[in-house]
């Protein structure tokens, strides 16, 4: 009995430590964003200080913030929609259709995911600039984000599609559905949890990605992560403002995740076929 109590205490202790590791940087970001520069560089640490919104006011006074924010939203949402649309169809084909090289394609999609974006920077910049003239456009950023996210989305959706009983698709075919109707009316509603998980993943990557966006955008098309880096200048590092904008840009992915995670429910195919 005693050892069981100790075990419970140890278990919760571990959870608290893990929670602190996760929350620590966020708390630090939040408190720093509410401090003045002098307070930030004050060596004596204190939990209690007079919060100020000075940093937020300074961030909001920048008239380019709205444009950068909308760039990020456009890039994030459009690349998510395109990735999911292409990804679910590709995953369906890989799961359900028998064709030559199917397994090879299935594995190579995941291999592509293992290439770090930093490796892609130079070749992508060259191709986007000299072959496609896509640098400094949102289209160029969207395309590379779609390419970056597609392998993982295909991979994750494959496992969801495999769980849809083939008998359901046969029933739909017997009911007079063409292949597109089978896919959109029967398969797609049943892989909603997979689409939601993939959407969260895709949007978060596209929203946060820095290095490719830095190289591929200019002052008009730059996204929020690039904007943050501009607070580091040769004279100064505006920690307060960096933390303020950091807090702000954490909000849209949070909202997106909460909305999308409502779709992640289990047992969607319950009752379809005899288990």
């Amino acid at each position: 009995m005693r050892s069981k109590q100790l075990g419970t205490i140890g278990y919760y202790g571990l959870l608290i430590i893990l929670a602190l590791i996760c929350l620590g940087p966020i708390i630090l970001m939040l408190t720093t964003s509410l401090k003045l520069k002098t307070q930030i560089f004050d060596d004596s640490f204190s939990f209690f200080f007079m919060p100020t919104l000075t940093n937020y006011v300074a961030v909001f006074q920048d008239e380019r913030l709205g444009r950068d924010l909308s760039n990020s939203l456009i890039v994030g949402l459009v690349s998510t929609v395109i990735t999911l649309t292409l990804g679910c169809m590709a995953a369906y084909a890989l799961v359900r259709f028998r064709f030559m090289g199917r397994d090879a394609v299935s594995i190579t999609t995941l291999l592509l995911r293992m290439v770090p974006p930093a490796v892609l920077v130079v070749p992508v910049f060259m191709i986007w600039t000299y072959d496609l003239s896509l640098t400094n456009t949102l289209t160029g950023v969207i395309i590379i984000y779609v390419a970056l996210n597609l392998p993982f989305v295909i991979w994750i959706l494959q496992s969801f599609i495999e769980q849809v009983p083939p008998a359901l698709e046969e029933a739909a075919r017997m009911d007079g559905a063409n292949p597109f109707q089978v896919f959109f009316l029967v398969v797609l509603p049943l892989i909603r949890p997979g689409l939601a998980a993939a959407a969260i993943f895709t949007f978060r990557i596209a929203w946060n990605e820095f290095i490719l966006a830095l190289v591929l955008t200019n002052r008009v098309t730059r996204t929020i992560p690039v904007k943050v880096s501009l607070f580091i200048t040769e004279h100064n590092i505006e920690w307060g403002q960096i933390m303020a904008i950091g807090t702000l840009i954490a909000i849209p992915p949070l909202v997106f995740t909460f909305v999308a995670s409502k779709q992640i429910i289990t047992g969607l195919t319950a009752g379809a076929v005899k288990g």
């Binding site: 359901l168 046969e170 029933a171 017997m174 007079g176 559905a177 109707q181 969607l268 009752g271 005899k274």
Partner: protein, 396 residues
């Protein structure tokens, strides 16, 4: 209600139709009535494995055909080829005189009930049932009317707004049937629809299916491995084994005149007893004898037995033909069997008895349970004895 004509039995149904030279897509039967579903020289291969080998089958207009056989006999594959869910390697399929071999399922005007229900889990019962009609752009009022009508006949009106996961197995099966019925298709296909239900529910649904098939005059093909379902539902039963049709005909024909040992053993419950025997001539009568038995055969058998060189045969006796004998009855067709196991089921008993070292099943009416070890005497009507060739297993 007028019943569809019972199917004629024929060794090769392909012989009963010919192709009209003017129209390659239409079959005209010898009696000028158009067969509704014709499978002609169907071959199905998976790679080098042949699962159906040159199958010919003709189903009459509005006939309830049951494909029955053990698992792996090709019955479900045959059904799925008619549905259009499986490609046909060779041969042609005609429905309503129209060649449908290479048509999509949606263009064949067939509805199907699946073994494991296959209900759309994200739609409620009403939407499950109306899915096909919605795809075909029926007016909403018409869809509602049809769904309500069919739900009424199936007793599921109260469930229309439930999701499949909120239904019991029996209710799901009804919805699956309802989904096929609202379509008013020319042909209905059933792929072992009752095999996932418990015994009591299965009996009840079987009775309802029998009622339904009388009400609907449609082509129906029903696949099952349960010979009781086949016997009770079918106008025509097609017994399949290892990709070949063993025999087809009415339930009565299959039960009384099985074409071979496989059909004889498969149709009828409890299964037919098989004993090794030898035919001979004794006192001017054809006889069959074996370990523990000696039966006089009817004179009508003489001709069939005459041309055979080999006297060895397999004797088939149904458990239900054993008649308890009075002491001192005709000694020739008398058989004495010590009971090994007795299963008392109330109205009748099923005995397992020993006949010269072979176990035989005997079904008798019984008021009182029978003690194990008790020796019982039975007589057997010679006309009910089946004989099969020991090698070809064909009926003699």
């Amino acid at each position: 209600m007028e019943r569809a004509p019972r199917g004629r039995v024929g060794a090769s149904p392909a012989a009963t139709f010919h192709i009209d030279p003017g129209r390659t897509d239409t079959f005209v039967r010898g009696d000028r009535s158009v067969a509704q579903i014709v499978l002609q020289e169907i071959v199905k291969q998976y790679g080098s494995l042949t699962v159906i080998d040159h199958l010919n089958l003709t189903m009459e207009d509005n006939e309830f055909t049951v494909l029955v056989g053990p698992s792996g006999c090709g019955k479900s594959t045959t059904l799925r080829m008619v549905a259009g869910l499986e490609d046909v390697t060779e041969g042609e399929i005609f429905i309503d005189g129209k060649a449908v071999t290479h048509l999509d399922p949606k263009d064949r005007d067939v509805a199907m009930v699946f073994q494991d229900y296959a209900l759309y889990p994200h739609m409620n019962v009403a939407r499950n049932m109306s899915f096909a009609l919605r795809l075909a752009h029926y007016p909403k009022a018409e869809i509602d009317k049809r769904v309500r009508e069919v739900a009424g006949t199936l007793g599921i009106e109260d469930l229309l707004h439930r999701k499949p996961r909120e239904l019991s197995g029996g209710q799901r099966q009804r919805v699956a049937m309802g989904r096929a019925l609202v379509r008013d298709a020319s042909t209905f296909l059933f792929d072992e629809p009752l095999s996932n239900l418990d015994a009591k529910l299965r009996t009840q649904m079987r009775a309802e299916l029998a009622l339904m098939r009388q009400r609907l005059n449609k082509n129906m093909i029903y696949v099952t491995h349960d010979q009781v379902e086949a016997m009770t539902l079918g106008d025509r039963i097609v017994v399949m084994h290892e990709g070949y049709i063993q025999q087809q005909g009415s339930p009565e024909e299959l039960f009384k005149r099985p074409a071979n040992k496989f059909v004889a053993g498969f149709i009828g419950s409890p299964a037919m007893n098989f004993l090794d025997g030898q035919v001979s001539e004794e006192g001017g009568h054809p006889m069959v004898k074996g370990a523990g038995f000696s039966f006089r055969l009817p004179e009508t058998r003489r001709e069939a037995l005459a041309g055979r060189g080999n006297p060895k045969v397999t004797v088939g006796i149904r458990p239900s033909v054993f008649v308890p004998a009075e002491e001192g009855a005709d000694a020739v067709n008398l058989i004495r069997l010590p009971a090994l196991v007795s299963e008392y089921i109330g109205a009748h008993s099923v005995l397992i008895a020993d006949c010269g070292g072979t176990q035989v099943t005997v079904e008798i009416d019984s008021e009182t349970p029978i003690a194990v070890g008790q020796e019982l005497s039975f007589t057997i009507d010679p006309g009910t004895i089946h004989l099969f060739d020991t090698e070809s297993e064909e009926s003699i």
